[in-house]
């Protein structure tokens, strides 16, 4: 029985704070909530992406302290980042998260569009390099 094992730490914080919208498997809901699975790790590969993941409203305003929030972010990247998290990724620290969440984004959609374009460009140049 799954209930007997118990959920604690970042997995519990994800369940109670993020999972309601991003879902247990990180799939999100098309058109309403962006997916984490197979997507979130790519942000770390472009300039500004690392900061973006902390400054988005859902993360910056989460009712968690800086240490717990950093732990959830690192847990989430390990779980849903899959092969997209760049090699040599340095985990978030409480200090970094505290600094970044103090500067929330004012134009979330605009920032996301810009990063999505950069991710697409990086993907294309990666494919060209492999050919």
């Amino acid at each position: 029985m799954a209930a007997a094992q118990g959920t604690s730490g970042p997995a519990l914080d994800y369940a109670v704070t993020c999972q309601g919208c991003h879902r247990a498997d990180g799939a999100g809901t098309p058109g309403t909530v962006p997916p984490l699975a197979g997507s979130v790790g790519r942000f770390l590969g472009v300039p500004g992406g690392r900061e973006f993941l902390v400054r988005v409203p859902g993360v910056a305003q989460a009712p968690l302290d800086d240490a717990a929030l950093a732990a959830v972010l690192n847990w989430m990247l390990a779980r849903f980042g899959r092969d997209d998290v760049p090699k040599g990724f340095v985990p978030y620290t409480a200090e970094e998260v505290g600094r970044l969440r103090g500067r929330p984004l004012t134009d979330v959609a605009g920032a996301r569009r810009q990063l999505a374009r950069a991710i697409e460009r990086a993907k294309q140049s990666g494919e060209r390099a492999r050919r």
Binding site: T7, T17, C18, G20
Partner: protein, 182 residues
């Protein structure tokens, strides 16, 4: 070739014999069976899909230790942070939507303490969508709820997102697991 019968008779006989040669009774029964099973399963698909996606690893509800109380009561332990009409009073149960409604994949999640074993359980409050308000067993409890500006922790919102219909009927309280503070 004429055997004295009218032409329509001969035509029908030829068509019937050809049909009998080309098909077997068994193949007809197979196709009929497939069609019947297909039409029976079709109306179930959207509801079943939403329910299975939103709760991938729900523990066996009936096997919860010390499970007690009335799911139709607002005081039932799982309802510690519910805001809406209890599905148990609306043709569903504490963890299943009434027929004709679809469980919202998006939800708000909290924890409630089970008095039966003293443990905190992770509870998902999914709205059931697709029918007008049930209007029975209204219940508003706010344990762990945050103000409206923290939308992901607020239960005043209608959570019929990602569903075919935005009309909310009632709310369920699905147990997702045990919370242990480390």
């Amino acid at each position: 070739m004429t055997d004295g019968r009218p032409w329509l008779d001969r035509l029908c006989e030829r068509a019937a014999r050809q049909l009998a040669r080309r098909t077997s009774r068994r193949s007809f029964l197979t196709r009929l069976g497939t069609a019947l099973a297909g039409t029976a399963a079709l109306p179930l698909l959207p509801v079943a899909r939403a329910a299975s996606e939103s709760s991938p690893s729900v523990p066996d509800d009936a096997a919860l230790p010390g499970e007690a109380g009335d799911p139709k009561s607002c005081h039932y332990w799982r309802h510690c942070a519910i805001d809406g009409f209890l599905c148990a009073c609306c043709g569903g149960s504490q963890n299943a939507c009434p027929p004709g409604t679809e469980m919202s994949p998006l939800t708000w999640i909290g924890t409630c303490r089970n008095p039966g074993d003293g443990k905190d359980y992770i509870i998902s409050y999914n709205d059931c969508c697709g029918q007008t308000l049930c209007m029975r067993c209204r219940c508003t409890r706010t344990e762990g709820e945050r103000p409206l500006y923290l939308t992901m922790k607020n239960n005043d919102l209608l959570w019929c997102f990602g569903t075919q219909s935005r009309a909310v009927n009632c709310s369920v309280a699905v147990v997702l697991g045990v919370a242990t503070r480390s």
